[in-house]
């Protein structure tokens, strides 16, 4: 009985801690956004962070997008073959990517590569007292360091998702049309007939913006709130990746339900 009680109280404690953390994190993010005017006044800070988060993620996004497209095309072809509708493989690949896989998978990859790098960078700056030093020089680290990293992530994410989807479609095209021999005309025309710009592509872009905001916010907060030791930073990086993944998947469900079910 006492074991059960202990477990319950631990659960209660964890829930309260999580809610408290959510509150602290939200306040932090609001403060960062409030001090974000620096990004407009000094765009080279934003550019440097877009390089850090976006450009350095390009390789993994392009390669992964290509492979996902190849697999989608291959699996899709094998399944559609049974129903004699191999001409629809273009639609299958395009819709899967644009609506779901593009935004979600690229967000997960972004969290692993760029998100963890952002958390580590901020965490190390905290550990080596660089953030304190900046404060003592009357420069606000929220504006000078954190805001550009946050917006760099938010702006990079939709671009990366689009590149992922585009590479995926190219991958699907390569495997089905070039290798297997599905008709190229059928591939593109069926795709164009079923992919709607507003319903599918735009919604996919909205998803990637939402995911980008979530992942960037989590990365930046975990770095700032990390315990200033080597172990603390390492734990913060792990938390960034795990929390980002859960957040992206949960948000994906909510957004999908909102955008793609019969309600609209």
């Amino acid at each position: 009985m006492t074991l059960f009680k202990t477990m319950l109280s631990k659960l209660g404690r964890k829930t309260i801690d999580s809610l408290w953390t959510l509150g602290v994190a939200s306040t932090f993010i609001f403060r960062v956004i409030a001090r974000s005017s620096i990004v407009i006044r000094r765009p080279n800070l934003l550019v440097a962070e877009m390089h850090f988060a976006g450009v350095l993620s390009l390789v993994i996004i392009i390669v992964s997008g290509l492979f996902v497209g190849l697999v989608l095309g291959l699996q899709g072809y094998e399944t559609l073959k049974r129903y004699g509708s191999t001409g629809a493989v273009g639609t299958l690949v395009a819709l899967s990517l644009v609506r779901e896989l593009g935004p979600v998978v690229s967000a997960l990859l972004f969290a692993s590569r760029a998100g963890s790098a952002i958390t580590a960078e901020i965490g190390i700056m905290k550990t080596t007292e660089q953030l304190s030093a900046m404060e003592m020089m009357a420069v606000d680290p929220h504006a000078r360091v954190i805001a550009p990293m946050f917006w760099g992530g938010v702006l990079s994410m939709p671009l990366l998702a689009a590149i992922f989807s585009a590479m995926g479609i190219i991958g699907g095209y390569l495997i089905t049309v070039v290798v297997i021999g599905v008709d190229s005309g059928a591939f593109w025309s069926q795709m164009q007939a079923s992919v709607d710009f507003h319903h599918d592509i735009l919604n996919g872009v909205i998803k990637s913006v939402v995911f980008g905001t979530a992942v960037s916010a989590i990365s930046v907060y975990e770095g700032y709130a990390s315990v200033p030791t080597a172990e603390g930073v390492s734990k913060a990086v792990t938390r960034t990746v795990v929390t980002s993944a859960l957040a992206v998947l949960a948000l994906d469900f909510v957004l999908t339900a909102f955008m793609f079910t019969g309600a609209h």
Binding site: N44, M50, H51, I163, A166, W188, M191, F197, V205
Partner: protein
């Protein structure tokens, strides 16, 4: 890395992203759906619209000529009122008819317009007089079963 090299790479990155978006929009998506061309609204009343939804296509001779703007119920005539947004470049005579058809056997429903022979064309705000409601599967099955039953009883 020097400033200028970073700028260059970010520029390339952003250009790639925009190119990807354009690729998706143009090559993969439906180009027509991007450009909202000018349209005019006509209304049509149906006894039953089946599963017709807003944004469903309006086709004539199999070609998309517009979209369903919205669907509502009229308290006066107690029938469904469907507003059709037709592309301005397509004109139909005033006595054209509108029917609710199904793409394929069990696909989505759309509105088909059969042109009439009048000299004047439908204008913005006009009503399509001749309409044919959707075929509701349950009713067809019911009719079929009823018919079969009558046959048996009749013997």
């Amino acid at each position: 890395m020097e400033r200028s090299v970073i700028d260059l790479w970010v520029g390339i990155f952003v250009a790639l992203g925009i190119a990807a978006l354009l690729f998706l929009a143009l090559k993969a998506g439906n180009v027509d759906s991007i450009i909202k061309s000018e349209g005019y609204l006509v209304s049509a009343e149906f006894d039953n619209i089946g599963g017709l939804k807003a944004k469903a296509p309006v086709k004539s001779a199999g070609v998309i000529v517009g979209r369903v703007d919205n669907v509502s119920f009229s308290n006066q005539s107690l029938r469904a009122v469907v507003k059709l947004n037709l592309d301005k470049q397509f004109q139909f005579p005033k006595d054209s008819s509108a029917s609710i058809l199904t793409s394929g056997l069990l696909g989505d429903q759309f509105v088909g317009i059969d042109p009439g022979g009048a000299l004047e064309n439908l204008q913005d705000g006009d009503r399509v007089r001749i309409t044919q409601s959707a075929i509701v599967l349950e009713k067809v099955i019911g009719q079929f079963l009823y018919g079969k039953m009558s046959e048996k009883n009749g013997d």
